[in-house]
């Protein structure tokens, strides 16, 4: 533009622009992965079509419960960069608090037990978080992992909690508020579906607000460089603990809802397998993507449920280590983690959003522009 003297300059510039975008396309493999995911989805329709309605309803209830904890973990892990392999323990704290209050004290309001479960999980998150968050990376992962293991071990060995060897508590009453009681989930129930998804969507709203604010920028900044964030005035220690507590509260809330909707809990519902499931959901949905937690929870819940139903029919005679469909799920989580890290590290949400701009390459630039001016008040 500066040298408008020679007529063919704009043309060369245009060509260079084209070359650049071509190069970009050649290097970008995520489109193929999206295609693969979409193909897998469409090709498996005949398999799960039989279970539609009750199956989808049940799966969506479970996905909604998981979404609440996974969204919290995404803020902690995806935005602030602090990994936790112990979030299933916070889910457990919420679940046991709710279950014990509702079964031991007759007439204890379930909604209040739910809130108390979230708060207690948050309080324990605070106590654990202050020392543990001084650690970084693998050390933090190991410390939170240890916390999770200790929690399930305690539940299994301390029979005083439940009077059952597997830490089981049954007969948890259904959720009720203002005299309105929800029907149990044993057959799919619209009531729980609505309750859980309304809470999940409110949690999404909260995180959107948070991430777009100065706090969200502070969290992303400390993810990128703690020293730089600190010298820019972000109280990184304080932020890390607070975001850890928020993820614990959401996990506790998720646990309470799980206990109330399923009517029965036991220690194995909160073991390491679930902590890893939650991290896998974050990665698959999209680390540091606002919709990532929700998308990951839905996607992986459906995949797991379908596999658990189908595997016995596909492979009737299996080696002993695959006898339990749950074990297959664990293998699958590992495989998915590796595949996503390699080919789609930003997760399916990013992949899907890219589908929209596939035909017009200029789109991402326009989106960058918008991103800068979309701030409140801007």
């Amino acid at each position: 533009m500066k040298t408008s003297g020679s007529g063919n300059l704009p043309a060369t510039a245009n060509k260079r622009e084209k070359e650049k975008s071509l190069k970009h396309m050649a290097r970008d493999n995520s489109d193929y992965v999206i295609l693969l995911v979409v193909a897998l989805f469409l090709l498996t329709v005949p398999i799960w079509a039989d279970y539609v309605s009750t199956f989808i309803m049940d799966a969506m209830i479970e996905a909604g419960i998981f979404a609440i904890v996974v969204i919290g973990l995404n803020v902690l892990f995806g935005y602030a960069g602090q990994i936790s392999l112990g979030n299933a323990a916070f889910v457990g704290i919420g679940a046991y608090t709710t279950a014990l209050l509702c079964t031991r004290i007759t007439g204890f309001p379930t909604w209040f037990a739910l809130i108390l479960g979230g708060l207690l999980a948050g309080l324990i998150g605070l106590v654990i978080g202050i020392p543990v968050l001084r650690l970084k990376g693998h050390y933090l992962a190991l410390a939170t992992l240890a916390f999770g293991l200790i929690f399930t071990e305690l539940l299994k060995t301390q029979n005083s909690v439940s009077n059952q060897s597997n830490g089981g508590i049954g007969g948890i009453p259904n959720f009720s508020v203002f005299g309105l009681t929800l029907k149990s989930k044993i057959m799919s129930s619209t009531g729980y579906y609505l309750l859980i998804w309304i809470i999940a969507l409110l949690v999404v709203l909260f995180t959107i607000n948070l991430i777009r604010s100065r706090v969200g920028r502070g969290l992303r900044a400390l993810h990128s460089s703690e020293i730089a964030a600190d010298t820019m005035g972000v109280n990184t220690k304080n932020y890390k603990v607070k975001v850890f507590v928020i993820s614990a509260v959401l996990a506790g809330l998720c646990g309470g809802l799980w206990a109330l909707s399923s009517g029965r809990i036991e220690a194995s519902m909160f073991d390491l397998r679930y902590s890893i499931l939650f991290v896998t959901m974050v990665v698959i949905g999209g680390m540091g993507n606002i919709w990532g937690g929700m998308m990951g929870a839905i996607a992986l819940t459906f995949i797991t449920k379908i596999l658990e139903l189908q595997i016995p029919q596909w492979i009737p005679t299996r080696p002993s280590w695959l006898a339990d469909p749950g074990n297959i799920a664990v293998v699958l989580y590992g495989l998915l983690l590796i595949l996503f890290m390699l080919f789609l590290p930003k997760g399916i949400t990013f992949g899907l959003s890219r589908l929209g701009t596939i035909s017009r390459r200029g789109g991402s630039r326009v989106k960058d522009r918008l991103r800068a001016i979309r701030y409140r008040g801007g």
Binding site: S213, R217, M232, D368
Partner: protein
């Protein structure tokens, strides 16, 4: 007179094991000046900045900012008190636009927390102020048109400018610049020096570590020379340039 001293460095020593990175370093920065710290590679300049901003703790000695002892103060508190810095190796926040980078700089003078922002209680006005201020600062350093681009996608010279904008967004009274001209071409260095003079005019004191002697001699009021962690000379740029010990430190002993 003491009122005019914004930053006072009092006998700072920093040991790494048996090695003294800084030995009894002592100087003060008068308000409104541009003060330069120079010295050969490994003289301890960056360590000095780390100690001043609380990133590293000194072994002994004290630092006073506006008369307040900040020797043991946390980095984010120091920024709130009015001292901001840039880094020798650019430390921009990844996957954030230039504007967002500058907005992080506004952290020190804003206060709405997790709950307030999450529930949108009393958060709008502050967010608007942050946006406006960050954009103003970006325009001041000449990056107004690049606001929407990812900070790490900018050309190197502009990344340095963005880091400076981020520091300026914290409304500092004193700005610490760690080799701002490193990697800049002569034209960009020229722009930098006029920007620094403009910043000083707006009332911000500047402490600068720099290898580009041309820039240092052009803009600084006073120079401190470090070698092996010790202050070997101080004075006006002209005085320092002719000091035999400085020449020795940079060029070796004359045969």
């Amino acid at each position: 007179m003491a009122d005019d001293i914004i930053l006072e460095v009092d006998n700072i020593t920093k040991m790494f094991g048996g090695l003294a990175a800084l030995k009894d370093v002592e100087f003060s920065v008068p308000r409104g000046e541009i003060k330069a710290v120079i010295g050969p590679n490994g003289a301890g300049k960056t360590t000095l900045f780390d100690v001043l901003t609380g990133v590293q703790r000194s072994t002994s000695g004290r630092v006073f900012l506006k008369g307040i002892d900040i020797t043991r103060t946390k980095p984010h508190r120091i920024t709130e008190l009015g001292m901001a810095r840039t880094f020798q190796t650019v430390k921009l926040f990844e996957s954030m636009t230039a504007l967002e980078n500058a907005m992080v700089g506004c952290h020190s003078w804003t206060k709405r927390g997790f709950i307030s922002n999450g529930l949108l209680l009393w958060a709008f006005a502050e967010e608007h102020r942050i946006y406006q201020h960050a954009f103003e600062v970006l325009k001041d350093v000449g990056l107004g048109t690049r606001a929407a681009e990812l900070g790490t996608n900018l050309p190197y010279g502009q990344m340095r400018m963005l880091e400076m904008a981020r520091a300026l967004a914290s409304k500092p009274e004193i700005l610490l610049l760690d080799e701002p001209a490193a990697g800049l071409n002569p034209y960009e260095t020229g722009e930098l020096s006029s920007l620094l003079l403009k910043v000083r005019e707006s009332g911000v004191t500047i402490l600068i570590v720099e290898h580009d002697m041309g820039l240092v001699m052009d803009i600084s009021d006073e120079v401190v020379v470090l070698d092996y962690g010790e202050v070997i000379a101080r004075g006006t740029p002209a005085e320092v340039q002719n000091d035999p010990r400085v020449i020795e430190a940079y060029l070796g002993i004359e045969a």
